[in-house]
């Protein structure tokens, strides 16, 4: 009781940037928040999903494939959560196994073969923290992916659409531009993990979330993302169509100029983007989320 009312009230505040950090976390994880496939089906109705890492498996937590977008073939890939319980289980709550990172790399190399630009969507609490992932080499799968994304000479634009958790997110987020939906989060670890690591008590997730600086406003202030994409009134889950339209426009606007860059320049800029991503630190000794974020139109 009172829950629907509170939710409505949160939605109203969401567009006036008056949410607590934990309220943003809850919006980023909202069960009706648009997931990768919700975007892909709207952007590229002829999307063909491609499966498998050609090694040992296919990871349903990563949806990937090709579709026509702005009269071009684009390689899309994104973490995929499920909405029903069965879907959630089969998508493993968007937590990838090694096969997912290897599938992503296979298709990134395929995009290079054909000159397709790449769009990646981030929405994961993190890589799967289970024995099956460890046994098949999750650490080196992520490490190798991060390394190789720097050697993919086609434009890559990434958008954090929900949760961007840890190395599990970063393994898909090495890009020329990284955008972030207004109420998405992006963090070195999920608030629960951080609490567990720092305090050995994951009930302190709210405190951890506040310390970690994980909202889009924090991230743009740190120079880690290029752009915040505003969500419609009532946040992304209340209007998938509008969210997809605005996010699609922002991604394309960032992608289009990259298509004209020479591959060598693209890779050099991508290298420098991450090599000096912490340069604000030296520039602003009293560094913090104090810079005004740039919002789209």
């Amino acid at each position: 009781m009172g829950q629907p009312h509170r939710e409505q009230e949160v939605e109203e505040r969401s567009n006036r940037s008056l949410l607590s950090v934990w309220e943003v976390v809850e919006l980023a994880r909202h069960a009706n928040r648009p997931y990768s496939l919700d975007f892909l089906q709207r952007w590229a109705p002829d999307f063909i999903e491609l499966h498998g890492d050609r090694l040992t498996g296919d990871d349903p937590a990563l949806v990937a494939g090709v579709g026509t977008w702005h009269d071009r073939t684009v390689m899309f890939m994104g973490h995929q959560k499920g909405r029903s319980l069965a879907d959630r289980v089969s998508r493993n709550w968007g937590m990838m196994h090694p096969e997912g990172y290897r599938k992503a790399l296979r298709l990134a190399r395929q995009a290079v073969k054909f000159g397709f630009p790449i769009v990646t969507l981030i929405d994961t609490p993190g890589a799967y923290p289970g024995a099956s992932a460890e046994e098949r080499g999750i650490a080196s799968a992520i490490g190798t992916a991060i390394q190789e994304w720097f050697q993919i000479p086609v434009p890559v634009v990434c958008a954090v659409i929900g949760e961007g958790g840890s190395g599990g997110a970063l393994g898909l987020a090495v890009a020329d531009r990284v955008l972030m939906l207004e109420n998405a989060i992006y963090s070195v670890a999920s608030p629960e993990s951080a609490a567990s690591i720092v305090w050995r008590d994951n009930s302190l997730k709210v405190e951890a979330a506040e310390q970690l600086q994980i909202t889009s406003r924090d991230l743009i202030a740190m120079g880690v993302v290029e752009e915040i994409v505003p969500e419609p009134v009532g946040a992304a889950h209340s209007d998938h169509n509008a969210t997809a339209r605005v996010l699609g426009e922002a991604i394309w606007r960032n992608l289009e100029p990259l298509l004209k860059q020479r591959p060598g320049d693209l890779l050099q800029h991508r290298y420098e983007r991450f090599r000096y991503i912490d340069s604000l630190v030296t520039a602003h000794p009293e560094f913090g989320p104090k810079v005004e974020p740039r919002l789209v139109s």
């Binding site: 923290p129 460890e134 992520i142 490490g143 720097f150 190395g167 690591i197 880690v224 630190v281």
Partner: protein
């Protein structure tokens, strides 16, 4: 099956410089036997039972670098408290205390020689906030990797880390990308990259540059993985088998080339440096 090579190994002196004394308690945690500090140092902190005590950065430098060859770089790069982290303890205070204790961040980088082979050498120090990957650590690693790529000197990394440093937030995460980009350039430049994985190597370090070596060696008692066993049990309620995430487990999982006892490590590295980097033989 002992090979003629094993003999060669034993002929390389175990330590380059003189190992510093370390306080390691009075009994071995594995076999319980009482420890003679002097003897233990002579045995590079390996108990008779095979237990490998964790070494800190200075000890690694003494063990691996030929005496007097270590030249540290970028020791003046210093971190600060970006997120104004307060709980459970002020991050600034953590940094200040560590510096007062003579610790200088979680990664030390410089040049050295190992059995006469010049190289870049970076060692993690687990004492500094659990060897966590921070902006300073990432910066020292990236600079070293870039210089190695330019100069052609091999790069040797010794890991010991709990992962990315929470107190630096997403910028700690970004160090994974920063250092892996630089490792990629090292590989593209054709420069040898060797990693020695020690106990423990996890999270943002195992999932960034730790397993990308041309040759990955691991100490026998190193635990290596992405997610720590405690978190896995919490998250999945799984019973983990004996030896899960051990060096032997990672050998079976295809992630490392050899498990090497510390007593043989210097010799193995000397041979690898000879095989991979002697310009004359190519």
């Amino acid at each position: 099956m002992p090979t003629p090579a094993d003999k060669l190994l034993r002929e390389v002196p175990a330590a380059g410089g003189r190992l510093p004394s370390m306080a390691v308690g009075t009994n071995c945690p594995s076999c319980g036997v009482g420890l003679n500090a002097r003897e233990l140092r002579k045995q590079v902190y390996v108990c008779h039972c095979g237990h490998h005590f964790r070494l800190h950065a200075e000890a690694w430098l003494a063990l691996l670098a030929d005496a007097g060859t270590w030249q540290e770089r970028w020791a003046d790069v210093r971190g600060h408290d970006l997120l104004e982290w307060r709980l459970p303890k002020s991050y600034q205070q953590t940094i200040d205390q560590a510096l007062q204790q003579g610790l200088n961040e979680s990664v030390r980088t410089g040049t050295a020689k190992l059995a006469g082979h010049p190289l870049w050498l970076s060692v993690f120090d687990f004492r500094f906030v659990g060897g966590t990957l921070s902006i300073v650590a990432g910066e020292r690693l990236a600079r070293g990797l870039e210089q190695a790529a330019q100069s052609g000197l091999p790069y040797l990394l010794v890991t010991a880390s709990g992962g990315a440093r929470m107190q630096e937030g997403v910028l700690a995460l970004m160090q994974m990308a920063k250092v892996n980009a630089a490792v990629g350039r090292l590989h593209q430049a054709g420069v040898p990259y060797f990693v020695v994985l020690t106990d423990p190597t996890f999270g943002g370090v195992s999932a960034s540059l730790a397993l990308l070596g041309d040759v990955n060696l691991a100490e026998p008692s190193a635990a290596i993985g992405f997610t720590g066993a405690r978190v896995i049990k919490q998250a999945t309620y799984a019973d983990l088998p004996e030896g899960f995430q051990s060096a032997a487990f990672q050998l079976r999982s295809g992630q490392i080339d050899q498990v090497v006892p510390r007593t043989e490590l210097r010799g193995r590295l000397a041979r690898l440096l000879g095989l991979y980097s002697d310009a004359g033989r190519r």
